[in-house]
């Protein structure tokens, strides 16, 4: 593996540019001194740079105390630049005025570590709701993971304050956390004029299960089921991303057969996930006949998953170093035959939707996510591609054996565009699977691995977009595990997408993105 040549150099505002463009699809860690930090950040904002994550690590390498890691990506250049900001105390200046996405990240850091951002735009808690005691910061090393006492009677003044919209005829609709359908919990606070949505504020983290803390102190092998539990329908994407980071740290090469099988499973996950989204979109326009076709196909895919891996959600097959077990040749052959006949039926189901004007009417011009929002909000996946932005982690930061993937974009930025993008991507994923199976070699599916200490970032394109994992191993065990799935950033896109739409179209817009609550709340 190529060494990180510029590792941990102190960087100046003038020299940071070249690190993005030096090539090689690497992650480059640079230290920013507190004096030049603001200048570097403002310099970056003027360029085509996206903040993709911001997180905190306590006692990182030689630094005692807190280190903030700011991960930036320049679209079109393969490298990810991670700025290290070593804090002297427990406070830091906010960057939310320059990178608006930082608002959630900074709130997350404050909850987790107690690091204060005195000039933050929003000082409300994020993942620790009001039931948690004050001054409780679970990600501090001094806190040993154990049950804690919480407050179950919340005084009115301690209740979460939603942003209030006022004016003649403006009223609020509170929805959730428990919703009417079989869906995950979250709270949506609509401010509405008549039937039109004036503002939406989303409150998440009802499902906060403490994934990141749970991983600490575990061996990498023990941590794979934790990665799988981040979001059930992103099992393969997250397990692969976690394993990739560990394999990078330990400088282990995964055998080609294992990578090809991983890729087949990754694409299967994309197929069944997109299938479910499309069924949902069609169902929410009150066209169950059309939705049933997708539901039937998705159930078949879940059964194929079971045949291939023993689990309908492909749990327990990905492991550090490759796969837990091989998939026999004849199973792959049968699967390939199945996909051949799946393809035209899938096409038929999609065509049926296009023929029904009452469905198309509802999907078109609904829930527009403007292209201009994609960069500042780090919107990724089909949501970004449907807004005409050609980004895909499989191409931008190639991993495994991904070399040629066609990026499907649309220009409408609406629900219809997202439907189209997903429909085309299913077709592409089927082709990819067929090609992978026809070209697969026999051989080992797992490489022996000697766990080393170190840290690494990995990026994987899940069905919803770019999932980011950062793993820090010390003395052979996980010291810090940071996860930021595509849903975390994409939720904020929904707040923008619904404005000006009518309340009954909200479920449709929500389904067109079908974000993971579990994957956001961790």
């Amino acid at each position: 593996m190529e060494p990180f040549v510029e590792q941990n150099k102190i960087v100046s505002p003038a020299t940071i540019d070249r690190y993005f463009k030096s090539g090689g699809n690497r992650e480059i860690y640079l230290t920013a001194s507190e004096d030049s930090f603001t200048a570097i950040i403002s310099g970056l904002s003027a360029k085509d740079v996206t903040l993709i994550s911001l997180f905190c690590v306590e006692n990182f390498e030689q630094h005692k105390g807190f280190t903030l890691l700011y991960a930036f990506e320049m679209r079109g250049a393969g490298n990810v630049v991670i700025l290290l900001r070593h804090l002297k105390g427990q406070t830091a200046t906010s960057i939310a005025r320059i990178f608006p996405l930082a608002v959630w990240f900074e709130r997350e850091i404050r909850d987790g570590f107690g690091v204060d951002f005195p000039d933050a735009l929003d000082k409300r808690r994020l993942f620790l709701h009001e039931v948690y005691p004050d001054d409780f910061h679970p990600l501090l090393k001094s806190f040993k993971n154990q049950p804690i006492a919480t407050q179950q009677n919340i005084a009115t003044e301690k209740e979460y304050k939603f942003k209030e919209m006022s004016g003649e005829g403006v009223y609020q609709i509170p929805v959730g956390p428990v919703h009417a359908g079989i869906i995950e919990p979250g709270h949506f606070r609509f401010s509405v004029i008549g039937e039109t949505i004036f503002n939406l504020e989303i409150r998440m983290f009802y499902k906060h299960r403490g994934i990141e803390k749970l991983a600490e102190g575990k061996t990498p092998e023990q941590c794979v089921p934790i990665a799988e539990a981040i979001s059930g329908d992103e099992t393969v994407a997250n397990a692969t991303a976690f394993c990739m980071a560990v394999e990078k740290i330990s400088e282990t090469a995964v055998p080609a057969r294992a990578w090809k099988l991983r890729m087949i499973l990754l694409e299967m996950e994309r197929i069944y996930s997109h299938m479910g989204d499309m069924a949902g979109m069609v169902l929410d326009t009150a066209f169950p006949t059309g939705a049933s076709k997708f539901f039937i196909l998705r159930e078949e895919i879940l059964r194929q998953n079971k045949t291939l891996t023993g689990s309908r959600f492909m749990k327990g097959i990905i492991r550090v170093g490759g796969l837990d077990r091989d998939i026999p040749e004849h199973t792959l052959k049968e699967f390939s035959n199945y996909l051949e006949q799946f393809s035209p039926r899938c096409r038929e189901a999609i065509d049926m939707v296009y023929k029904v004007s009452s469905v198309v009417d509802r999907l078109e011009t609904t829930g527009i996510i403007r292209k201009e929002l994609v960069k500042p909000l780090n919107i990724t996946g089909p949501a970004a591609r449907a807004a005409g932005v050609p980004i895909d982690t499989r191409l931008d930061h190639p991993y495994g054996l991904y070399a040629s993937v066609t990026v499907r974009t649309a220009t409408g930025s609406d629900v219809m565009s997202r439907f189209n993008v997903k429909a085309t991507e299913i077709k592409d994923s089927i082709e990819l699977c067929l090609n992978l199976i026809s070209g697969i070699e026999s051989g080992e599916v797992s490489a022996p691995i000697q766990i080393k200490d170190g840290y690494a970032l990995s990026l994987v394109e899940s069905a919803r977009g770019q999932n980011l994992h950062w793993v820090y191993i010390r003395n052979g065990i996980i010291d810090r595990y940071k996860v930021c799935t595509a849903s975390f950033c994409n939720w904020q896109a929904i707040e923008h997408a619904v404005q000006g739409n009518i309340v009954p179209d909200f479920p449709l817009i929500n389904k067109s993105l079908n974000l993971s609550y579990a994957g956001t709340d961790l």
């Binding site: 009417a180 359908g181 299960r209 403490g210 749970l214 049933s292 959600f313």
Partner: protein
Amino acid sequence: MMNRVYRRLRHGIVTEKVAFKDEEFENLGLKLQTEISSLFGRSLAIRELDSGSDNAAEIELNNLNAPHYDIERFGISFVASPRHADVLIVTGAVTHNMEIAARKTYDAMPHPKFVVAVGDNACNGGIFQGTYAVNGGADRVLPVDLKIPGNPPSPIEIMKGLLHLMAAIRHKSTGA
């Protein structure tokens, strides 16, 4: 109106024959239907509560409504409000952030009411047992009548679980 009747007589039933039929599932469904008929006056209303699952259990519960399973034909429906529910299905270890909502949902249900924990995490906290963010299994917060383990349990396993629930209710009501 009469036109439609004539058309129907002329063409017969036009819906396609389904290519799938799972004998085991059909038998389970019919047994369940018999039980529901006698115990719940022909229909069983279920409210689903996700209190911290990884969302796979929700997908499987949704699948019960999809064409392969279509459990409405056996008299089971998933309802939008706890006020209409006989059974509360809980998925996931109950997180602290969901605890208040979980209790309120249960309290809103009319009597008699039953709670079923679906999935390993709802049964006993699963991998989150003993951590800061969760209470543990659903039984830490609500009176659980039945546990259906699995990561997640498949639709057929959930059906089997519901049949066990019927047996338990029958046992309780007859005192046998």
